[in-house]
Symmetry: C2
């Protein structure tokens, strides 16, 4: 996979190098019982901060259609975080204000993220505290142009009903970039998606909610990736009418029932504290570890916290096909324990270590994705999950072009335009889908029409 070196757009590489020297987090693994100010020792019912703030980790039993399906710890955070991206037209093209943000779980310290990541408490200022730079553009966006503002789910396999607000605001008078921030052309941002572990999950999900493809088309000078066939139009006519897709989603959500029961951590069979880590052993979907952090930069401090570690990368693959001249993506409707509304659209393959065996259909699609010829692989980059909660957790993002084939049960071929239409609204597409949609957008050779407003 490409490194940052070939990228010559502006001063991205030297800017990052400079920022990384001054802004960093240095995590050290520590036993859970030694995580200061957290109740995280063996036998505790709920892992929680002594103040009750930040997040809790407790157990959850999940029954799908009356059948017990999962018993696992979940991260519970009763807060709608704000992921805000500031946008402006500068020098004749759309630019966004990104932040080089250090997070303790980032494998490489600093990644490029949204303008703002704030908790709801930051947002409403209930706790007072140091102001978050640029937050006011998102707390009071009315004077500006709101491009998108929607709540979306986070990882339903780890978080219980966690949501983030994805908001993009375009300003006529762009503010100067503070230290650690940088205005980048949107086309550059899309190109940077091809670099391993560079664009944060927060930035990818917000890009995935953008209602249109930016101009100029980001691939025109991409040194890494193959553009998708230019003959494929990202817009209509689609294989399915939107009412048929909405029926599919409604029907699935009505036919299946997800019941959850809160458990204490010791009630979870197989989950045990071993060597300071809470884990279900070798098949554990994740481990809960303790981390001590030394940070420098904007918020100089040190702290300890529990984190989620998924040691082996998973595979997130989107199969795309030309169906009668129109680009279609193969998506599934997937039930996850922490989702707020039964099931959301997920990529063709969402194979994470330790999660339940893939269905026969998904296993076949995984083989199809991994055995694709190199010329059919349009995108193949290792990208990180959110580094404030996930420790060194990465997933391979694959986009593979294929000839169209009959959809397996539970799958549909949909168009980019249809997915974007659904992403105007909450809880239709999961975080993995949004991340892959941002990757796919980076490959679109033809800009889609502007958003319908």
């Amino acid at each position: 996979m490409p490194t940052l070196d070939p990228i010559t757009d502006g001063e991205v590489a030297p800017w990052l190098t400079d920022v990384r020297q001054r802004f960093y987090t240095r995590p050290t693994r520590i036993p859970l019982a030694e995580v200061a100010r957290w109740e995280a020792h063996p036998g505790v019912a709920t892992i929680r901060h002594e103040s009750g703030r930040f997040f809790d980790i407790h157990g959850l039993a999940v029954a799908v259609d009356g059948v017990l399906t999962w018993r696992q710890p979940v991260v519970y955070q009763n807060d709608i975080g704000v992921l805000g991206l500031l946008m402006a037209e500068r020098d004749g093209e759309l630019q966004v204000l990104v932040q080089a943000k250090p997070e303790p779980g980032n494998i490489n310290g600093v990644q490029i993220s949204t303008t703002v990541q704030a908790t709801h408490s930051n947002y409403t200022r209930v706790h007072g505290g140091r102001p978050v730079p640029y937050l006011d553009y998102f707390a009071n966006p009315a004077p500006h142009q709101i491009v998108v503002d929607t709540r979306q789910s986070e990882h339903g396999a780890v978080f219980f009903r966690k949501r983030n607000r994805n908001i993009v605001v375009q300003v006529a008078e762009p503010p100067a970039a503070q230290d650690g921030f940088c205005w980048l052309p949107l086309s550059t941002v899309y190109r940077l998606l091809a670099v391993d572990d560079l664009l944060s999950m927060d930035l990818r999900t917000v890009l995935g909610c953008l209602p249109w493809v930016p101009e100029p088309a980001p691939t025109t000078s991409s040194p890494f990736q193959h553009a998708l066939h230019r003959s494929m139009q990202p817009d209509a006519p689609a294989r399915y009418r939107l009412p048929d897709l909405l029926h599919w989603i409604t029907d699935t959500r009505c036919r299946h029932r997800v019941d959850t029961t809160r458990l204490s951590l010791p009630e979870l069979p197989e989950w045990r504290h071993v060597d300071g880590v809470l884990s279900a052993g070798k098949d554990s979907p994740f481990h809960i570890i303790g981390v001590s952090v030394e940070a420098a930069g904007r918020e100089v401090q040190s702290w300890s916290q529990p984190m989620i570690e998924v040691p082996d990368p998973g595979v997130l693959a989107l199969l795309v096909a030309d169906i009668e001249g129109v680009l279609h993506l193969l998506v599934q409707l997937r039930i996850e324990p922490g989702l707020i509304d039964v099931a959301e659209l997920a990529p063709s393959v969402q194979q994470l270590p330790g999660t339940p065996e893939p269905s026969a259909a998904e296993a076949e699609l995984l083989i199809r994705a991994l055995s694709a010829s190199p010329q059919d692989i349009r995108f193949d980059t290792m990208l990180s999950e959110e580094g404030g909660r996930f420790f060194h957790t990465r997933n391979r993002h694959l986009i593979v072009e294929t000839a169209p084939f009959d959809e397996p049960t539970g799958y549909r071929w949909i168009t980019v335009a249809q997915l974007r239409e659904l992403l105007r609204h909450s809880y239709y597409a999961n975080v993995q889908t949004r991340s892959l949609l941002s990757c796919l957008t980076s490959l679109l050779a033809e800009p889609a029409p502007g958003g319908r407003c």
Copy 2:
């Protein structure tokens, strides 16, 4: 208000007269403690059927933004009911298959309703039992054209997180109407909305979810109502862009937090059993009464059940205005205790007896609606709430044309097209708004463009 007599479309009046003689429910009020097979006596924590089926009534404490706001009984029904309407093109126009349905709470016994009202259990046939006529068109709609399929909320002031599936299926080969059913032109159905207590709430909410206005325009020969000004187009350009409206909804849903706690009925202050009725006295938002029912017709039987009684009609008013040549509706975002997602769009005025004092803004709008000149009142009909749960509960439905004015806080002028766009998705507009939208559609002189599929 007009009676049914002036309606000469087809054989609606004689059909209803005939059906009413053979299909009926005869309710008798009885004390709650005498409702057979229900635990409903004074002191019971939860009113419930001995089988655990149908519905429960328990107490609920609701805190909005940390402030205790409501303590009241709520009806809890863990079931997504199906409201299905079958549609076909017959004799060159769209027709729908309606049912003359008796419900014990209907003030006039039989009202015209959707093709199917079924519980989820009917739908999935888990309990076996007698098949519901035409249900298979909605359980397996794939061979037909799905017009709309969406889950929508029920009365958030009474039900706790109750949802119904609103589904319209168009068939190429319409089945014959069984006894008690009738194919009616859609334009006739819209005209019948002007008759007091004739079209059921279930039918009104489904009509409110239709993504377009039917042709021919229903008002062209309406004997009762004034059409809205023909110069007003029901479609764009709107005062607000859709992203701005979605921002308004997202922001409201993020800024407010609704926490609910289940209570036993005796824990509710002021709610007492008096003369066999559970009520909070003269300011009670509703009473819970017992009803013994004798029914004849399709399902000949007798039973007893608790019902919700709202003795005085409320006022539901939609103010509409011509803003730069475009028809706009004034809607508010309203928090109700039983809504699944904080707040939904509500009419300009939703004033129900016993509910909290209206805001100053809503009180002013109520005065504006009630004091409108007769020539500005476009629609004024008393329509019933769902007669399976509500006993003789009716609300005045008013549509009043006004000059545009500045929106009060918490209100927005939106277009018909924007409301329809939102109604493709779940939980944006409450049942009162959907009911009034169906009334408004009956007045639209110019058909809107067909649905975007």
